[in-house]
Amino acid sequence: MTNASQNVSAASAPGKEPGKGSGKDAALSTYTIALAGNPNAGKSTLFNALTGARTHVGNYPGITVEKKVGQVRTSDAVLNVVDLPGTYSLTAYSAEELVARDFLVEERPQAVVDVLNAGSLERNLYLAVQFLELGIPVVLGLNMMDEARKMGMVVDAKRLGELLGCPAVELVARTGTGVRELTAAATRLAKERQGRWKPVEISYGPDLDPVLAEMSAAIMTKSFLSSRYPARWVALKYLENDSQIRELGVQADPVLSAWLEERAAHVAAHLRTTLSTYPEAVIADYRYGFIASVLKGGVVTRDNLGDRLAFSDRLDQVLTHKLLGPVLMLGVLYLVYQITFTVGKVPMEWTQNLFALMAKLVEGALPEGLLRSLLVDGIIAGVGGVMGFVPLVMLIFLLIAFLEDSGYMARIAYMLDRVFRIFGLHGCSVMPFIISGGIAGGCAVPGVMASRTLRSPKERLATILTAPFMTCGAKLPVLILLASVFFPDSQAQVLFGMTLLGWAMALAVAWMLRSSMVRGEATPFVMELPPYRLPTWRGLAIHTWERTWQYMKKAGSMILAVSIVVWAAMTFPGVDEDKAASFEAAKAEIAAKIEAIEAPAAPGTAADSKDEAPALGSEAPAQGEEAATAQAAEPEGLDALKEKLADIEKREAAEGLSASLAGRLGASLEPLTRYAGFDWRTNIALVGGFAAKEVIISTLGTAYSLGKVDKDDAAPLAEMLSAEGLTVAGGLALMVFILLYSPCFPTVVAIGKETGSWKWSVFSMTFNTVFAYGLAVAVFQFGTRLF
């Protein structure tokens, strides 16, 4: 996770190493510049315009907030640009805000570029003011000047900069206008200030100013937390009840900290009794008052606010309309699903074919044996299974990026929040659910990752843990197969029922979690509805690629190890020596017979072919005829023998599987799974399904001695399952179990990474399996009595 920062220091090395690079390069100084701003202010767009493709994406240590680092080389400096999470404020309430604050305080970047949406300067400056109060060198980037201008707004950036005492640059991040000026201004400021902080003091009125002065004086004399924060800022945070600063304070100087807390409590009580307000409210009032006075001082001289948002408002009248809104939303969600799985199917088949081809090549190149089995059945099948999803995942991410960048995602959350809140979730939970297979056929890995758009930690956790209940694209073929066996006349209805069951269970479990393990107040919904904008191709491409690459890294690295483990579990220890010998003997016997049949033709041709090799081809038909006559004479024909040989091989594979670790596990679980109607063979397949759900079909195939079963042509398996006496109730129980049991391994990894704790990975594996088992038993027991 520290990758990104390491990469950066490595990348900046040439500047310090005279031996490398040109002489001019050696003189360049390196500065760290942080990019900050409100969500939707255009930070990502600016970051991409600044750094191009040379970026590293990682996470801030310990949490899932993304950290992007890129580099800009100008004629006189090298800038390492760090993209801070988008925030509205610098309080200690959300992970994003803490990350931004800690980065500024601990890494001490030489300058912060605050990206502002010129169209809503007032609110955007609220964060800027907090940077100024912290004292860090700030460059204001007034972004979206094109929009502002077009709609008749006149903003004077220079005047704004003068009033706030920091450089201000007009930007259109989307086209790159002003980006050069911005880098120049940031470099100049970094040089000038040399990392010195100059806190700006804002007046907080007659009630707070005196006590702030008193508190800061005490803080100053004791040098309390002074290595990191300005004194007045610390005092302000005590008044604001900032949990992080108070904790740090207690560690640094308990006595002073207690005194500061006492002063803060005193002021709070005073404000409550005299003005029935809170210190935080007063502070926010004065900050906004300060901003208003700055803006009135000749910064914004004309603003036709109504016109500016008129287009967006008109769209909203349709897109969030009482009746039309939900209908259109369903349409959009359906379209997302359709595009993904119709368009995505094609490249997905290519990748799958590519892996199939690789498997063939390896199969041809290596002799039969463990190594070949490991490569083909273990590694290529496992890694291929995950990588096969890459095109699909990419397309999903592209569509999500479109919905997000256009502003529609926020509307989806807005419209659905009332429904999701009932279950302790958030309007934004809908997208992870849909991607995970809420419309049958998604994938839980990108689904879990899509939960990043949720800013509320508890709702996010509940979403992550329940999204894997959906009918993902890997469960789908298994469910289709089972439906075709047990409900041949009502396949579609049964599948639809399974999709609904997935939703019902996801919501029910979310509700359960939110009233037990993930209990807590609903996170406030207070959310901006950004104006509709047409996304740029570049922005879409970068978003899509970043997320896809993360999926590939995450899934790819772990899946290799797991593929090998699962393969080993299904291969070793294998059948015992006697059995193996008897299989070999049986095979040898039949092989000998086949040879014997083919033999009569052999001597003649072999003799001829010694000097007439080219003639061999022309003699082949004759050879075939001879074989045919031999076949007619022999009761055991050549074809029958070959079939017999294949049969033995299949039986050998089945025996091998049943003697393997996975097989023994399956058998030992049978006493338990009997109540749900599963026998040991089903159990093995379910164990294998942990690697990837689509493996269930092929494993069932092996277990039922059918050899390799293709998931597109599973008719023989279907026949076998019904012939082996799996009842309708058993089939239904199996479908329910497959829908709900432990997420597949890549998803489990994604859960661990996204929640920042492997505890939740373990939880989802065990809880889901137990939960699915309970339901499956209920279905089987009830069903057996019913049918």
Binding site: Y88, S89, T91, Y93, N117, G119, S120, L121, E122, R123, Y126, T277, Y278, E280, A281, A284, D285, Y288, D303, L305, R308, L309, S312, D313, D316, Q317, T320, H321, K322, L323, G325, P326, A410, Y414, M415, D417, R418, V419, R421, G427, T523, P524, F525, V526, M527, E528, L529, P530, P531
Partner: protein, 80 residues
């Protein structure tokens, strides 16, 4: 003297001025961070299909919040 009433009672299209924000803790902080402080002008621009989150226009942008969150906000409407 204009009357104070809860933000929830406003209809789509109504304009008002924030009089008081009675929320502490995280909710209060978030509300204030977004600029919902006394004196700010707001206009109700819409309600979600199920009537619940409400969409407001203030300070040049659109904000949505839930009804129970809006209950913490008192507004003053010019007398008609």
């Amino acid at each position: 003297m204009p009357q104070s009433r809860p933000l929830r009672s406003l209809k789509v299209g109504d304009k008002a001025i924030i009089a008081q924000v009675n929320a502490e803790g995280e909710l209060g902080r978030r509300i204030r961070d977004m600029g919902l402080v006394p004196g700010a002008e707001v206009e109700i621009v819409g309600r979600a299909p199920l009537k619940d989150p409400v969409a407001l226009r203030l300070r040049g942008f659109t904000l949505s919040l839930r009804n129970n969150e809006a209950d913490n906000i008192l507004v003053a409407t010019p007398e008609e």
